[in-house]
Amino acid sequence: MTAPRDVSFTVNGEARSVRVEPRKTLADAIREDCGLTGTHLGCEHGVCGACTILLDGAPVRSCLMFAAQAEGAELRTVEGLADGETLHPLQQAFIDCHALQCGFCTPGFLMLAAGVLEREPDIDEEGLREALASNLCRCTGYLNILDAVKAAAAAMKAGPG
């Protein structure tokens, strides 16, 4: 049906139910129906990575999925990274390494890096460079982002505390 349909999933652990037209992308549903505008939209056709979120643990472009496909899925967005007032190691490392300027690309890079590091904690520098090449940043020149993710990877391995 082209008519709206109810879809339920969790976002950052919280159950959500939205009523969406089939053509509504997951990115638009997250922003408009869930009110979580931390997920950004740049190109809306899969090239920039600003809309990257975690779908059942895997980093994906939320502009290339329809919300109706997310029934039962566990979604994570940038709003779910911090633990209360404590920033996620990636967020802290982005600040420490000056890995953002305007910040438009940052939520996408954070979720990309979070997904890659959780799936492949032992990824080497070449692998990280290749993975980070997935997203576009017009400001930083990327090297500070790479430094931040390397620092966060070390911190995440060392564990909390």
Partner: protein
């Protein structure tokens, strides 16, 4: 832009998916697999399908099954499933090296092997792999199954032998001999872009001479294919830089390269030769 309205179907079985295709063939019904090619074209409104038959929840569409003679790649096998070798032999290593050239990490979490074949972009790495290794493709419609050889599957850029009411169920890639050598090389202007030219080479060496050479080229002509002129140069001769250059030159001469905004036919043809030479050198590493 936002995609135009469509009806979203979520079949649970292959039978249901095939009947939906049969029911809506002729009304621009499309399979929705990874969505990594279809959704961007819908966002641009280059495609406005009336029906999307979403196969992501079809329970009897497999992923990767390693058999004795072949690897069966079901329609729900995603690019990322090949990041780690799916088998210990050369084919597993080949696939895990080639997959890194497909788009980006998040694209590979969703995009499917069979979707790449059905989409048939001239510069698709999986299409080149299927053509070079002579994959056997299984199409499924409400009427039953039929097998299509990779050599006759790709008909033109973005055009395949699949009928409107058929879905690509599975691709079988023959496993390679344990001593098979393989090499891959592609040239793209930016990381993650579709390549301007790419080559895959596979051969074995017996008593110092190349046997069973396979040389495939993608991104150069409308469809990827094996280039017999290049293979003929290699057969029976000792591997080495001079021979690889000769084979590359034979390929550059043999291809009928396309011209577009990214590269002229002359440049692409020469690039194809260089990619072949480097893929052969990579195989000899």
């Amino acid at each position: 832009m936002k995609p135009a309205p469509f009806t979203h179907h979520l079949p649970g079985t292959v039978d249901e998916a095939a009947s939906l295709l049969a029911a809506h063939a002729g009304e621009d019904a499309r399979i929705l697999a990874g969505g990594q090619s279809l959704v961007p074209t819908m966002a641009f409104r280059l495609a406005r399908p009336a029906h999307l038959i979403d196969v992501n929840r079809v329970s009897d569409l497999g992923t990767v099954a390693v058999g004795e003679d072949a690897i069966g790649i079901g329609a729900l096998a995603r690019h990322g499933d090949f990041h780690r070798p799916v088998e210990d032999g050369p084919l597993g290593a080949l696939l895990s090296a080639v997959v890194r050239h497909i788009g980006h990490y998040p694209i590979r979490m969703r995009g499917t092997f069979c979707g790449s074949l059905a989409h048939a972009d001239p510069a698709s790495e999986w299409c080149l792999v299927a053509a070079t290794l002579d994959a056997r493709l299984t199409a499924r419609s409400a009427g039953g199954e039929r097998e299509i050889a990779a050599g006759s599957f790709f008909e033109w850029a973005m055009v395949t032998a699949l009928a409107e009411d058929e879905l690509l169920l599975r691709a079988d890639l023959p496993r390679l001999a344990a001593d098979a050598r393989w090499g891959f090389c592609e040239f793209a202007r930016r990381a993650g872009d579709f390549a301007l030219a790419m080559a895959l080479a596979v051969y074995r060496v017996e008593e110092g001479a190349i046997v069973e050479p396979r040389v495939g080229v993608g991104g150069v002509e409308a469809c990827p294919r094996r280039i017999p002129e290049g293979e003929a140069v290699l057969a029976g001769r000792a591997p080495g830089p001079a021979l690889f250059r000769e084979a590359g030159a034979a390929v550059a001469d043999a291809v009928d390269a396309v011209s577009d905004v990214h590269a002229s036919a002359l440049y692409r043809g020469e690039l194809a030769g260089v990619m072949v030479e480097r893929a052969l050198a990579d195989a000899a590493r």
